[in-house]
Amino acid sequence: MNVVYFAWVRERIGLPQETVDTDAATVNDLIAELSAREERYAAAFADVSALRVALDQELSDFDAPLAGVREVAFFPPMTGG
């Protein structure tokens, strides 16, 4: 599964994207798995309310299932316009 990061999430984790081998059932499961991995992930995911997630480039929820998903993106609330 391709996992991509943007803005301060990218900076905190230290990379723009990575391939993750996971059996996580939901986004929340994936976050728990990554956070357990290293401190920089735990720091980035510390406050999930400050984050947004997109599955295959569509905004989604943290309890959404990951079955069939190829790309998960984590980022802060958008500030376009």
Binding site: A7, W8, Q57, F75, P76, P77, M78, T79, G80, G81
Partner: protein, 146 residues
């Protein structure tokens, strides 16, 4: 309907002039231009990060919804990414309609949605370093108007 996501600068006036040009079925054109604002007079540049692919599809979805909700003759959205200087246009939207209410409302709607639903993130860079612009509660609240 035209949606462009680009790093290159664009000419707001030229875009407005070519938008809905030579049409005689429209009576109202509204444009919005977002400009890099130097709030404290210390901004070196504004860095705009985006999510390639999702950006285009998210904007296209928002523009299609506007076309469905209002009687619009045409919609234009241009949004830049990369480093921008104070005073430079970041993005623009334009709407064309027979009557002014539809053109105004649709442009306002497009801006509210682009602001909070299109995957762009702004970082302000000064001599002190860089800082990500925080999303405002007011921007999220603005979506409830529609």
């Amino acid at each position: 309907m035209s949606v462009r996501v680009q790093s290159e600068a664009f000419d707001t006036g030229a875009e407005l002039n070519s938008f809905a040009q030579d049409r005689t079925d429209i009576g109202a054109v509204v444009s919005f231009t977002g400009v890099v604002r130097d709030t404290k007079g210390d901004l070196q540049e504004m860095l705009i990060e985006h999510y390639p692919g999702m950006t285009e599809s998210a904007i296209t979805k928002i523009a299609r919804e506007a076309m469905q909700r209002w009687a619009l003759a045409d919609v234009l959205v241009i949004h830049r990414y990369g480093p921008l200087k104070p005073g430079e246009p970041i993005m623009m939207v334009a709407t064309a309609s027979a009557h002014r209410a539809a053109a105004f409302e649709a442009a306002d709607f497009l801006m509210d949605y682009l602001k909070s639903r299109a995957p762009f993130w702004k970082k302000e860079v000064t001599h002190e370093g860089g800082s990500w612009v925080d999303a405002k509660d007011a921007d999220e609240d603005a979506l409830k108007r529609w």
